[in-house]
């Protein structure tokens, strides 16, 4: 960038210089940067006072600032400088705004209202320009205007075409602060975007007519004008769609170059704009449709970080463009050399654009309401009429006029500036009170709930089905058809396989909700719920997992505890138990600092490198909370799942019978309680487990948690007696590796896949639930029969367990079953079991082998268990 010595050569013959003034080289970019800086600083100043910005729209303030700055520039430089150049506006300032609005356009809402939007955009704009143009011409003919205004019908029509288009920048700037309901907003805003095609065509056609002169216009020119409208609008849309397709396709293959993903989005959208501009199609339409259409696929393809980058960059660009536009509008207005004031023209224009806009809206709405499902009422119409703001597009277009051809250009410039200022400042200022006064339905920004999403999906299907049944090919029918087409072909083509597989809106919402809840939860301090209720350690985070200091391990021991899979230490000595007891004591006091640390660290959870990990953690935390509340509401899942679980007693019985069954599986001994129901339950849960563990592996979206009837897990903690309340739909014989459960730190590094802290008692993710119960029970009484394992990881060490069962448990069983309801006995029998369990080395040898086999066999429902038995019997 820095020009080398060559440029400085002739100027500086006197040897080497230390410093050189190079203002010329950096002038242009420096000025740009300076202006942006000024505008941004001004924004900060505006927002210092909440009072001002709540009353006055930012766009007004910026225009006023521009006026002020323009005045200063004029006073200092003695000439107007730094104007809003049409070229700069159309090539650099407008595209970011349009892309932003297209990309973040609520597409469903947009297409739901596309009919109304198109009507207003096309018919409305046509009507406005012709009516305004003709009326002004009439005014001129009536001799009310200054004779200096040399303009014929064509000139006025040209002026009408550029002055009548509602401006997307202005509309967005004002309506974003007003918060009218979505339908109203999307109609006004959509109109302002889509009317670009009409404006462009009218402007060009009339411009050429003016240049040709009225005498040389033939009928074919009119036909050409009409044809060019379709060409420009449809062509622009086609360009947009083409680039959207390309963009989606490209992002499909950016897996290894994540870092430039956002670049593609901006580049291709900009190229779409330029391409459309190049062949004089509607560039705004191109970018709008590019944004709308690519979003779904692009978002699915690019990484989470890129998504965030795209979002913020786009918003930043659009916001700064908008700022600059409004500021420069103000500055440009100061340049009186371009002005020629004519009161009649200005007032007439103001009056006519307001009048015709209102008339047009009312007429169109009258027609539209006959076809609309949700009619637009009177108040909506008022807001729509009043919200027709004009802005920088009109200004840029009027500046672009050729003074040679359009004699009255100066008058038009002055009028346009007045109109723009009037609409942005006066209407912008008053629309908020107006909306309040009219009690326009505001958009209720309630949090989207999962239920809503579900119901709306159900709705879509229901409505489509009803249309099918009625045989009416209406909107829902075609939407449904489109969705099927999209699912079958487009998504497959344009989405990454992994993304496509996981793509589902309901799931997305679910995931986002969880993340959001978790974020707010963590932000609020994180320990409000759990810490108060459960005095147990938090879930360990992966980050700290890597640290191997003893204290860390101690702190995090809560989770790894029951899930340690590889380090199986079965030496269960008294010392171990003491250790365990000690550990439990320590845990209570140790977790707190860690908590605090976590809370503060998650407050900055956006820190990019940790984002994903944190997402996961947040997700987990959140699930904890959710399930906690869930638990407190206590879903009666059991009742629907199996009758056996309706009563505690029944549940216990079932457990026992299951245990028995598993134990005696090989010997086919009949067990008194063995009945069909428990077996069924076991099977289903087995399926669930394998399912969930699979999902967990495949989605890398996070861990799949499933609420189960975890009714009284917590109570189980306080009193050993309620231990048996932990509903465990399937039973795997007690694990001998109690030491792990008791001495969690032993297994900390084992498997990072799943962490459960025993403190999360209430959250029971399906595949962890059992491990869960185990850890709980280990808290109660060290030797109580551990709960059930689930998920293959757990099963890994569950299998060796079985080996011992035939010997020990078969004897222990009768006793256990008879007194299972009495917790003290339970613990006793459990202790006896664990005492009698064989020692470790043997198991450790066996373990890896079994684990792999186990994994392979998982899916078939009840099979694994039999497998275990067989193995056990082999031993």
């Amino acid at each position: 960038m820095q020009p080398p010595a060559a440029s400085a050569g002739p100027a500086a013959p006197a040897g080497a210089e230390l410093l050189r003034w190079q203002w010329r080289e950096v002038q242009a970019p420096c000025l740009v940067a300076a202006w942006i800086l000024v505008a941004s600083l001004a924004k900060i100043v505006f927002h210092l006072s909440r009072k001002v910005t709540s009353v006055v729209p930012e766009s007004c303030l910026l225009i006023l600032l521009g006026l002020g700055l323009g005045g200063i520039v004029l006073a200092v430089a003695k000439k107007a400088e730094y104007q809003l150049e049409p070229n700069m506006f159309f090539l650099f300032l407008l595209p970011p705004i349009v892309l932003d609005s297209g990309y973040f356009m609520p597409s469903r809402l947009f297409f739901d209202n596309i009919g109304a939007i198109l009507t207003y955009a096309v018919v409305g704009t046509l009507w406005n320009s012709f009516a305004t143009g003709t009326a002004l011409w009439g005014l001129h003919r009536a001799g009310l205007m200054d004779p200096g205004v040399e303009a014929g019908l064509m000139d006025f029509l040209l002026f009408g075409s550029l002055i009548s288009a509602v401006d997307p920048v202005a509309v967005l700037a004002v309506f974003e602060e007003v918060h009218v309901n979505e339908t109203l907003f999307i109609i006004v805003f959509g109109e302002s975007l889509l009317n670009d095609a009409v404006t462009v065509v009218l402007y060009k056609v009339f411009n050429s007519f003016v240049e040709l002169g009225p005498a040389h216009i033939h009928a074919t020119d009119y036909v050409k004008g009409v044809a060019s409208f379709f060409l420009v609008s449809l062509g622009g849309t086609a360009v947009g769609l083409l680039f959207a397709f390309l963009l989606a396709l490209i992002t499909r293959f950016t897996k290894r170059v994540r870092i430039i993903e956002p670049l593609f989005v901006f580049l291709l959208a900009y190229v779409a704009y330029l391409a459309a501009e190049m062949v004089s199609l509607s560039a705004i339409l191109a970018v709008t449709f590019c944004g709308i259409c690519c979003k779904k696929y692009v978002e699915a393809n690019i990484s989470q970080k890129s998504r965030t980058t795209v979002k913020y960059t786009m918003k930043t660009l659009a916001s700064s463009s908008e700022t600059i536009i409004f500021m420069f509008l103000g500055i440009s207005a100061v340049d009186t050399s371009k002005w020629t004031w004519d009161t009649a023209l200005v007032l007439g224009t103001l009056f006519f654009i307001l009048l015709f806009r209102a008339v047009g809206v009312v007429l169109q709405t009258y027609v539209l309401n006959r076809f609309r499902l949700i009619p637009l009422d009177r108040i909506d119409q008022v807001v729509m009429s009043y919200g027709g703001l004009r802005g920088a597009v009109a200004f840029a277009l009027v500046i672009l006029l050729d003074r040679e051809k359009v004699k009255a250009k100066d008058y038009f410039v002055a009028t346009t500036i007045v109109v723009v200022f009037f609409t942005v400042i006066v209407q912008g200022l008053t629309i908020k009170p107006l909306v309040t006064w009219l009690k326009v339905k505001r958009s209720d920004h309630h949090k989207p709930t999962l239920n809503e999403e579900l119901h709306e999906h159900a709705f879509d299907h229901i409505l489509a089905a009803v249309e099918d049944i009625v045989g009416h090919h209406g909107y829902h029918y075609w939407r449904d058809k489109w969705e099927q087409f999209d699912k079958k072909y487009l998504s497959q083509l344009l989405m990454r396989k992994s993304a496509y597989r996981l793509r589902d809106e309901i799931w997305d919402v679910y995931y986002k909700l969880n993340i959001r809840d978790a974020i707010s939860f963590v932000d609020q301090g994180g320990h409000v719920h759990s810490a108060a209720k459960l005095a147990l350690p938090s879930m360990p985070s992966r980050t700290s997992m890597s640290e191997s200091s003893v204290t860390n391990l101690l702190r995090e021991s809560g989770s790894g505890a029951c899930l340690d899979l590889q380090v199986i230490d079965t030496v269960r000595s008294r010392r171990d138990k003491e250790d365990a007891a000690m550990h439990h004591v320590l845990r209570g006091s140790l977790y707190k600092p860690r908590r605090r640390y976590k809370a503060s660290y998650s407050r900055h959870f956006i820190s990019p490198d940790k984002q994903e990990r944190q997402d996961k953690e947040i997700f987990r935390q959140n699930m904890k909370r959710r399930l906690e509340t869930f638990k407190s509401t206590k879903h009666n899942v059991c009742s629907s799942k199996s009758k056996a679980r309706l009563k505690e007693k029944g549940r216990k019985k079932k457990n026992i019978s299951l245990t028995k069954e598993t134990l005696n599986g090989k010997t086919h001994r009949t067990v008194p309680w063995q009945d069909a129901a428990p077996v069924l339950v076991m099977v289903s849960s087995e399926e669930e487990e394998s399912d969930s563990s699979e999902t967990e592996k495949e989605d890398d979206e996070g861990i799949v948690f499933v609420a189960r009837a975890t009714d009284e897990v917590l109570q189980g903690k306080t009193t050993p007696g309620s231990l048996d309340v932990c509903p465990s739909p399937c039973i795997i014989p007690p694990s001998p590796t109690l030491a792990e459960k008791e001495l969690p730190w032993k297994g900390d590094q084992a498997d990072l896949a799943v962490y459960v802290s025993s403190e999360t008692t209430k959250i029971v993710p399906v595949d962890m639930q059992k491990a869960w119960n185990q850890s709980i029970s280990s808290l109660e009484s060290i030797a109580s029969p551990p709960g059930i394992e689930s998920g293959h990881q757990h099963r890994r060490f569950a299998c060796p367990v079985l080996e011992e069962q035939p010997q020990s448990a078969s004897q222990a069983m009768p006793e256990q079953s008879s007194c299972f309801q009495f917790p003290s006995h339970v613990s006793k029998s459990g202790r006896s079991q664990s005492d009698s369990s064989p020692d470790g080395p043997e198991q450790q040898e066996l373990q890896p082998l079994m684990a792999t086999e186990e994994q392979g066999r998982m899916p078939p429902s009840a099979e694994p268990r039999w497998l275990m038995f067989n193995r056990a019997s082999h031993l």
């Binding site: 309401n369 509401t633 009742s639 609420a707």
Partner: protein, 271 residues
């Protein structure tokens, strides 16, 4: 099948002379079973007998120009629409007086609908048919068909608050019944899970497990919305209709759950 039945019927209808003869005929025929089944004269007296419910009363006298009997709400389904629906009904039922479940299988577009079963079910759900009894009907006649259709009417411009409220409740009830498959007045977790699973069944890559977790999450949400903080020993059995209404607060179902039957002429179908 319909390929032949469809256009045939469409052509036959105007050839009938008046064009609306078949409609009153069938409707009158349909009146028979209705008298039998309820014996209550329900549609006429039921408080929420609205729209088509009353429209049907007019039908026997001929759909066109028949004097409305007791219009609680303005009749949204015009005679023209009824005619169309009747044509369609005939088409579906293959000229029978009633439609059976199997008839719906012949609609090709319905095939890809993930919750097809639930929707078809709703057509035969006696609760939706405004009958006193519970359970499933084996077959529905045209009148029932219209009754179901009337759930999907759009709102009228001139409805007052009370009407809107009733209107909304009707629609929600229909939806509720669709979820509550065991007719116990509660959407239990299991039922909800089924619905979600069906909803997600369009995506073969989503595990059943995710459907479950979503349903569980939704249920939790419902519980927290409807009951708030529950005591530890409280049990949230399922979403009752009152809870359902609560959940729908703030969502304009009346602006969403409707299908346009207008412009029925555009639907000359031949599959």
């Amino acid at each position: 099948m319909l390929c032949h039945a469809g256009p045939c019927w469409a052509r036959e209808c105007p050839a009938d002379g008046t064009g609306n003869k078949p409609a009153p005929g069938t409707v009158r025929g349909a009146e028979g079973p209705q008298g039998n089944r309820g014996g209550t004269g329900a549609p006429r007296t039921l408080p929420h007998c609205w729209g088509v419910g009353t429209g049907k009363q007019g039908c026997p006298q001929g759909p066109r120009g028949s004097a409305p009997v007791t219009f609680v709400l303005p009749l949204a389904v015009t005679s023209e629409q009824i005619e169309h629906l009747h044509r369609r009904f005939k088409q579906l039922s293959q000229d029978q007086l009633t439609i059976r479940k199997e008839n719906f299988d012949s609609i090709p577009d319905l095939e890809f609908n993930p919750i097809r079963g639930k929707i078809v079910h709703a057509f035969f759900d006696k609760r939706n048919l405004r009958q006193e009894s519970d359970g499933l009907a084996d077959e529905i006649n045209f009148e029932d068909f219209l009754t179901i259709m009337s759930y999907f009417r759009p709102i009228e411009m001139n409805m007052d608050e009370e009407q809107l409220e009733r209107f909304r409740k009707e629609k929600l009830k229909f939806l509720f019944h669709m979820y509550d498959s065991d007719h116990d007045g509660k959407i239990t977790l299991q039922e909800y899970r089924n619905v979600v699973e069906e909803l997600l069944s369009g995506n073969p890559h989503l595990e059943k497990e995710s459907a479950r977790s979503i349903a569980d999450g939704a249920m939790m949400e419902a519980a927290s919305i409807c009951v708030g903080q529950m005591g530890p020993d409280q049990v949230y059995e399922g979403i009752t209709f009152e809870d359902f209404l609560k959940m729908w607060q703030g969502i304009d179902i009346e602006t969403k759950m409707h299908v346009r039957f207008l412009n029925v002429d555009t639907i000359a179908h031949c599959y």
